[in-house]
Amino acid sequence: MLNTLALTYFTPLLFGLLLLLPYRFSTKTIIRISTIGLSTPFILSLFIAGINSPTELRLFSLKMTHFHFDFILWTDHYGLAYLFLTHFLGLVVLRFSHNYLEGEKGHQRFFATILIFIFGMYLICLAGNMDLFFAGWEIVGISSFFLIAFYRSQNRSISNAWRIYNIYRICDVGLLLSAVIGHLLWHEASSFSQLAELTATEIASIPFKYHLILALFIIFASLGKSGQFPFHNWPSRAMEGPTPSSAIFYGALSIHAGVFLLIRTEVLWSSLPEARILLALIGLATWVFSYFQKKVQANIKGQIAYASTMQIGIMFILLAMKLSPLVMIYLILHALWRCFQMLTSPSVVLQSLTHAQREITLRRPTSNFARRLESTLYSLAINDFMMDVSARGFHFVQWYRLKTLFFFCLRKPVIGTLALVIIQVAAHSWLHSWHGYQHLFTDILSSLSLLYSAQALFVHRSAFKALGALGISLLCDMASIYTVIPGALHGIWLYMLPILPALIIALIVVHPFRELQLQYFHSQGQSHPTRANIFLLCFMIISGMPITTAFFGEDIILAKLIETSYPMAIFTSLSLMMNGLICVRIYVRLFMGRPVAI
């Protein structure tokens, strides 16, 4: 009974998709649709909360000859707490946006994106296994992109959205691989409920190397979404959308998703002191850097963003101390507070007039050295400590020299491939011990695939060429996988079945724009909306969004690969991740940007 009822959690998704249809709904209808979409699951959650013990709800499973995908929801206390936070803030933001967005262009699109985002959050809160969790994670990522880039005609907001999406996606590799490794290590324990019951000895039985890699991947995955060092600069760049969407994302829900991931998977990393030390160091670094950067922000939303990452840094430290119940309470209070701060940020000027201001008197340092230190910290803090990876590059090291080398390798495929093969072989020998040259051909193929993906992302200036390179990279990938593991053929089928047609359609769609240079915005979406939408669909399919079988195929391929070779799995997942970046780059450059003014 409850299992069937749990399907209610799909209402926001369904209604969101409904709103994405080309039909224009009236303002009232949109509000009604979104209200129903968000409040029905809320009622169900109230029922579920009535059940006292953690429950597993098995919705359905997809079974084919070689794989099965279980759609399981797992309601433990942490998940429910986060779920109710999502319900509450979702409704608050809906209430806020209701008046706030009235008459705004793209009104319907905004609500559709919010609904789909909330659905992604439901999946994150309730996912019963890593696969489902990853699906929610991806949905949240892509809807964030569209909310930051809500003003499609503002070049700055689109570039910021794109940069942030890049960070998200790079960090997603961590989650994808940790899901796959999890499968490998505990064949039988693929769901969170089973993970929760793992005993210490069972965990300790895993070889250290693999365990460490797993923990590192999980931590890496959480960094991107939660804006932790070295990615702590993106939240301040994300303040481009309408205030309610900023409030729900960077203020409240999605920025805490990384913390929630760590709480969910605590079993997997907390037994490793190395991982905990790393976590604490990351939290500390974020805390220190954000502290100074927060102090020098002259704009209110930027200040809120850094204050958030700073607090989340503290949460990371607490997590490293294994204080997850405390962190959960902290998280909820923090999210509520930030959401409120963000929503009321426009009134700060008026408040400064009516409320007597407290004069900030800082003791100025007296000694010469202290003054110089102050200036140094100050100017570094304004300059984001030269670590704004999302925009200015990692200038702390002389990055541009590395960049020259990087581009040199990209332009000379032979050298590039050679370098990649060496890296792969070396990594392989460290992890799996030396096994001779039996995989050399495969290594070359997967290196080539990575190289082509990188070329498509960094070098090509024509969308058509970039997509072509992406196709070659995909073929190399699949060939390499097939040569090393013939058993992965069904995975390859599942993966390529939707992607190949999508790629061909995408090639046809961008063909007329092959002369346009990809380093500028062309805003063709205005004159060719259909093409833009078709490409958008292709881009979602190619990047392995959980809408086609490619999502499952990816999972199977990587699972098979990781059994054989870790480095190859990493290479493949990197190139798959890059495929998504390539598509989003093309979409942003070709179809978005400041329009032709009429």
Partner: protein, 783 residues
């Protein structure tokens, strides 16, 4: 470029910058006030070319006006004929441009060409990097209370020196300055920096002016603010020393530093091919003329329509008034006056600038700084301080927290719809002159007070027949979570609430010593039974507060009750009227419901349109209320009362116009430009706005400051220039504008339309080319 060249250049560019002021000091201003020495159309064309802006709304807008008959075809034909001389030519042009969408591609834009070239050269977004850092520095330097860590030496040094100091002191130098010669990048003299960087960044001397213009206009919000601060540093509460050449020097330094960072070896000056620039298609001469005709025809249609109603209006002989009420001339107060008069025929209302002649700085009990309470061009001569009296409760408590929580979902406080509140326990403000420490004198001398009272009363023509209750209504607009809080306030009080001015004005007039002085010096007899009662009309919530500190007789008390009842009715009618354009989608049940909705807008944290402000304004009428009484003005007009009978030589009119024309044309033109091209002249959408340093607004965290008004404030506006209608003979009307240079400039250069209505013959005249010409409605000659 040498120092004096740079200075003269900066002087020239400063003109092209929009005028923006710190958000706390927001007032509606003509964005192009620096161009008022030019003809309106020429200025529009020149500025649009500079900013790649669209000078008119697009073709579909005008097409819609034609189909809705809001452009009279007869009028349009007339205007076209005048512009294009022959009917044949007019027809040809109309055919050529009618309903043809004109596209402008941003690749053709003037601003951004240099940056484009650099990006190609360095393969890095130089402009974005340089501007990003510059904006952060500027924000930190000018910050008024957001930053928690003040920039070292910001309050002592000027901007360029503060940056030099900061970078000179650092132990680790941040990119892009690491490993570069700081002495060369930041020489002691900013002019020297500009000179050497220009030689590096833009070697061809003939392109330098273009380049500098681009540098300034590319960040025109910041540059505009700096230009304002350069003129008047006291605009900020914590003053900062900053000039345009400081700004330019730092900007060029950053650009050079970033280029050197990516191309460390480019010692020789850069050379770049220059992409071409195509002007906006609307700026094509014929096209511009065609749209100018459409725009003029639109203005004439709106104006003639109302003028026709005014002329054919029957003048009712006024009864002896039982009540009198003085309002602000604001267009929104027009509705309330209209409603009051229709309910209570024995009331006569007056309109005047909402500061009621009280030109002062006012320091509220818990404020750190005094605020200006008079129109922008006026320099206040005295300071009025109020002692702490009201108990303000801002403390955190469980009750407040619960209220906040409830407010999230149900923003309306569930109080009965008290639209009129009478506050009786208001302590009087200390008005008498007292010695001061702050430079400006505190309070008035007696003679000043009676002079003020006389001038004000004479201007509106209220020197006799005083009713026993005279209400003086200031106005304000209360909206939560709205950074443009000043934009809805009283323009004559620099966008603030008119409460204090109304209270001071009434207090002056209620003083027995002032009344005796008035009688002896000016022969104005205010009967002892007359009481002046200050009030405050909240145009957002449609509520009124009355402040009664005097003792009033029982009879007056009775009258007061009657007035309050009327006022309540009038406010309800007002609410019904005002809510319709605000929420077209929700059906309105009755007046109480409308009031509730308005209150919800005012209290709501989620409301980008708390009210509509001056959105429908198109007129400014200076004349007796009899001219428009009984007419539905639809919020189109500013109404300044003026009795031509008291002003045989036009001196009062001169005085009135010197305030009315600059202020109202500023409001009208602010709306006009923000509506025409909201992307360049306006602030874009209000939704993603971010408060910077408590002095400005921007989108995102590293971008230009916003200029003008946001889309949500102007999207229902029909952009027309104001028509100033004066009830006076043509000769005196002409004389009145010629007396004042600024007014004359605005009128002569067609920034407003100017007409007079002869009070004796009822003939209309219009101004053109320094003369008044007879004007006939519909057909005949149009301005």
């Amino acid at each position: 470029m040498k120092r004096n060249e740079i200075d003269s250049f900066l002087l020239g560019v400063a003109k092209h910058l929009p005028i923006i002021r710190p958000i706390k000091e927001f007032v509606h201003l003509n964005l192009l006030a620096n161009f008022q020495h030019l003809n309106f159309w020429d200025a529009l064309r020149e500025v649009s070319a500079d900013l790649d802006a669209r000078p008119f709304l697009d073709a579909t807008y005008y097409q819609e006006l034609i189909t809705k008959n809001m452009i009279d075809p007869q009028v349009l034909a007339q205007v076209m004929l005048e512009e294009f001389k022959t009917p044949l030519e007019a027809e040809r042009v109309a055919k050529k441009f009618n309903n043809r969408p004109l596209e402008f591609h941003h690749h053709d834009a003037r601003i951004g060409r240099f940056h484009f070239a650099w990006n190609e050269l360095t393969q890095a977004p130089i402009a974005e990097l340089a501007d990003g850092l510059l904006i952060k520095w500027l924000g930190m330097f000018l910050d008024q209370g957001v930053c928690q860590w003040k920039m070292p030496e910001a309050d002592r040094l000027d901007f360029y020196q503060a940056i030099r100091h900061l970078l000179g002191q650092t132990l680790i130098r941040p990119t892009p300055f690491s490993g570069q010669d700081l002495q060369k990048l930041l020489p002691e003299d900013p002019y020297e920096a500009i000179e050497s960087h220009l030689a590096f960044l833009c070697p061809p001397a003939e392109l330098r002016e273009d380049y500098l213009k681009e540098a300034m206009l590319g960040l025109r919000g910041w540059a505009g603010l700096i230009a304002s601060l350069q003129k008047d540093a006291s605009l900020l509460d914590h003053p900062r020393k900053i000039t345009l050449h400081d700004f330019l020097a730092v900007k060029l330094t950053l650009e050079r530093a970033w280029i050197l960072h990516y191309k460390p070896n480019s010692k020789s000056p850069l050379y770049f091919p220059f992409s071409s620039h195509t002007p906006h298609p609307y700026l094509d001469e014929e096209c511009f003329k065609y749209y100018k005709c459409l725009q003029q025809a639109h203005e004439l249609t709106i104006h003639n329509n109302k003028l026709g109603q005014i002329i054919s209006q029957k003048k009712t002989s006024s009864l002896a008034p039982r009540f009198q009420a003085i309002f602000c001339m604001d267009d929104r107060e027009g509705f309330l006056r209209q409603n009051l008069e229709s309910i209570l025929p024995e009331i006569s209302t007056f309109g005047t600038a909402g500061h009621f002649g009280v030109e002062c700085l006012y320091q509220a009990p818990d404020a750190h700084f005094p605020r200006k309470q008079c129109p922008l061009p006026v320099a206040p001569k005295l300071l009025i301080k109020e002692k702490k009296s009201r108990n303000l409760n801002h403390h955190f408590s469980l009750k407040n927290a619960l209220a906040l929580f409830r407010g999230l979902f149900f923003p309306v406080k569930f109080d009965p719809l008290d639209t009129v509140i009478v506050e009786r326990e208001i302590p009087p403000i200390a008005l008498d002159r007292s010695p001061s420490q702050e430079g400006l004198p505190n309070g008035y001398e007696l003679s000043e007070m009676s002079q003020l009272a006389y001038t004000q009363l004479k201007a509106i023509g209220l020197l006799e027949n005083f009713a026993s209750l005279v209400f003086v209504m200031g106005h304000t607009s209360q909206s939560a979570n709205n950074p443009y809080f000043n934009a809805y306030g009283c323009g004559a009080c620099s966008g603030r609430s008119g409460e204090i001015n109304a209270r001071i004005f009434c207090q002056i007039l209620n003083r027995p010593d002032v009344r005796t002085d008035l009688l002896t010096r000016f022969k104005v007899n205010i009967p002892a039974a007359t009481t002046f009662i200050p009030g405050l009309h909240d145009t957002c919530r449609e509520s009124v507060k009355l402040f009664i500190s005097e003792k009033i007789s029982e009879k007056s008390e009775h009258l007061l009750k009657e007035f309050i009842a009327t006022l309540k009715l009038a406010l309800k009618q007002n609410a019904l009227r005002r809510i319709i354009p605000l929420s077209p989608h929700s059906p309105i049940v009755d007046a109480d419901h409308a009031l509730k909705l308005l209150k919800r807008r005012s209290d709501s944290l989620f409301e980008p349109r708390p009210e509509l402000g001056h959105t429908s304004v198109a007129f400014s009428i200076v004349g007796n209320r009899q001219l428009t009484r009984g007419l539905d003005l639809e919020g189109l007009a500013f109404l300044q009362s003026y009795d031509h009978g008291l002003d045989p030589d036009g001196a009062i009119l001169q005085n009135i116009l010197s305030a009315v024309i600059p202020v109202t044309s500023g409001i009208g033109l602010d709306y006009f430009f923000s509506r025409t091209d909201n992307f360049r002249f306006g602030a874009g959408s209000k939704l993603p706005q971010n408060v910077v340093g408590l002095f400005g607004l921007s989108h995102g965290t590293e971008s230009d400051l916003l200029v003008g008004l946001p889309l949500q404030m102007v999207d229902q506006h029909r952009p027309v220039r104001l028509l100033i209608l004066v009830e006076q003979t043509a000769d005196l009307a002409l004389q009145a504008i010629k007396a004042h240079a600024q007014v004359n400039q605005i009128v002569a250069n067609e920034w407003v339309r100017y007409m007079s209505l002869d009070p004796h013959s009822g003939a209309l005249s219009f101004y053109r080319d320094g003369q008044m010409h007879p004007y006939q409605l519909m057909g005949g000659h149009y301005a």
